[in-house]
């Protein structure tokens, strides 16, 4: 695993010692989870929703009860390369 690349994707800053330790731990973890490849899933659909629910929507109505009036901008240091 390219730990540096994954850390960048995950927006985490890791120290070199952390990177090395994590790399080893991931190898161990991936080996353990690899057992799922023992099972044949050739005609099986993936499940991402165990509820069986479909078409859960809400009416297009304004709900004032949850509005939080912050009233001011959030600020971050200037973003360069910005639009």
């Amino acid at each position: 695993m390219d730990v540096k690349h994954v850390a960048k994707l995950a927006n985490l800053i890791l120290k070199p010692a952390e990177e090395a330790k994590l790399k080893k731990q991931f190898e161990e973890t991936l080996k353990t989870v690899d057992v799922i490849n023992e099972l044949d899933t050739s005609n099986i659909d993936p499940t991402s929703q165990v509820t069986g629910l479909i078409n859960v929507t809400r009416d297009d109505k304004i709900d004032k009860s949850r509005i939080i009036k912050i009233g001011d901008y959030f600020k971050v240091p200037a973003i360069f390369n910005a639009q």
């Binding site: 994590l22 991931f26 989870v33 993936p46 499940t47 629910l53």
Partner: protein, 463 residues
């Protein structure tokens, strides 16, 4: 001592004017004062608890009026900090209330404090909390389990009358087992997740940790039910869990999961579980072996799916709108975020995430087949009693390995309970009773029958 009462006993006492809510709350606060410094079950105590209790009259008809309840620190509570036991959210005061705690408050309950947990619910020990581990009231050199370890310890140590926790895969049942109390996991979608800091969105299930099954039934009755703010919450009406608990179980077909007697299980634990199974047979149920997929597959599925969802759910913590920046994440959180990011990443999605979700389908189908022949499935909760402090540091997958017997039912979104069923080395052992989706009533009936015929749940630790 009032704090030692069960929820049902406390309610009866309040209604009969034997004592006031203020006395009940005070009793719990005294217990907290005596033992929390050592046990570290609570991260925050509600300074207004006593005042709130004084407002409750004996004539208050609300179902939980005047009852002090502890809440796991991943539930957003207005007026009390909510940290998920992470330094990232240290001092965070939520701007809104979770549905579960709002329903408890509407029912008159008094939230006595927020309990410790594994940070972000990443664990089965409560040792990964950024604010110190919680100790097991039965043996303070042992862990209480996790991630709802603080809630479990608080109930076991009678620091509250009942508690709320959440289970992603084992986080209610396992600490309940290790702390000798009852822990109930409703069907996924039965209780709203709105206002619960998300761990794995597709399995997170809020639920009660209590002294008895009867208490669990009452709390579940209050917190369950559809929530328009949670699109995965079930529109099914909530049956009466409380009044039919006493149903006989003599006609039930109960499956004993032999695959759950894994090689890691200690022989003493195995014996305790077999004795519990025999008890069901004595009660008239028909107990037979049920063949299920080996838990090792669930470990793989759960680790991948959960860590993927975790990596995404924790992306909002950037310190801009609330909390601190991502450098405040602890080791376990970083580990899980990284692994989750990796298995979702380009080139690996099919091999890991997609494959895991397909195996998940197999696990769901496996249970469906089993429940055609059986009404309920029982088995051990944990391969061992509570492990010693430090045990979680041994493996980068400690949580997922510890919970292997609970992951299958969590992945499938089923309902399950852990009830005390014995002791090994002076530490409690839990039995899991699992039912199909929305079979909470049946699960609780069986658990209640078991508790009526045994006294394990009456045992209390010497503090």
């Amino acid at each position: 001592m009032l704090n030692k009462l069960t929820l049902i006993e406390a309610l009866a006492g309040l209604r009969a004017k034997k004592f006031t809510s203020a006395e009940l709350v005070q009793s719990c606060l005294d217990q907290i004062k005596k033992h929390n410094k050592k046990l570290n079950a609570f991260l925050a105590i509600n300074e207004n608890a006593l005042d709130e209790a004084k407002q409750i009259t004996a004539n208050d008809q609300r179902p939980l009026a005047g009852i002090p309840i502890a809440v796991k620190d991943n539930f957003l509570t207005v007026g009390l900090p909510t940290t998920a036991s992470s330094k990232v959210l240290e001092g965070y005061m939520p701007q809104y209330e979770s549905t579960v705690t709002r329903r408890l408050k509407d029912a008159g309950a008094i939230i006595i404090g927020k309990t410790n947990m594994d940070a972000w619910a990443h664990g089965s020990s409560t040792e990964t909390s950024d604010f110190g581990a919680t100790l097991n009231p039965w043996n303070s050199s042992h862990l209480p389990g996790g991630s709802s370890g603080g809630s479990a310890a608080a109930v076991a140590a009678d620091m509250c009358i009942a508690a709320i926790g959440s289970e992603t895969a084992g986080s209610i049942r396992q600490p309940a087992a290790w702390c000798g109390i009852t822990g109930f996991k409703p069907t996924y979608g039965r209780v709203s997740r709105y206002g619960v800091i998300a761990m794995a969105s597709s399995t997170d299930s809020p639920g009660p940790l209590t002294k008895t099954v009867g208490d669990s039934a009452l709390i579940t009755q209050i917190i369950a039910g559809h929530d328009p703010y949670d699109a995965t919450s079930s529109p099914k009406s909530v049956p009466d869990f409380v009044s039919n608990l006493k149903s006989k179980i003599s006609n039930l077909k109960i499956g004993f999961a032999k695959e759950y007697l894994v090689k890691e299980i200690r022989p003493e634990v195995k014996q305790v579980i077999l004795d519990a199974a025999k008890k069901f047979a004595d009660l008239g149920a028909k107990v037979d072996e049920v063949k299920l997929l080996h838990p090792k597959y669930s470990i793989g599925v759960y680790t991948i799916v959960q860590r993927s969802e975790v990596s995404s759910n924790l992306a909002r913590y950037d310190g801009i709108r609330y909390g601190h920046d991502r450098s405040y994440f602890g080791d376990e959180a970083k580990r899980r975020i990284m692994l989750g990011t990796y298995v979702l990443s380009s080139g690996y999605y099919d091999r890991y995430y997609n494959k895991a979700q397909k195996v998940r389908t197999l696990i769901i189908k496996d249970f469906e087949q089993a429940f055609k022949k059986f009404d309920l499935i029982i088995g051990p909760v944990s391969p061992s009693p509570a492990l010693p402090i430090g045990a979680s540091k041994g493996s980068p997958m400690f949580g997922e390995l510890e919970d292997m017997l609970l992951e299958p039912s969590s992945i499938a979104g089923l309902t399950s309970i852990s009830v005390p069923c014995g002791f090994v080395d002076g530490l409690p052992i839990g039995l899991q009773i699992t039912g199909p989706q929305f079979a909470e009533k049946l699960v609780m009936q069986a658990a209640h029958s078991y508790q009526q015929a045994t006294t394990w749940h009456h045992e209390k630790p010497t503090l």
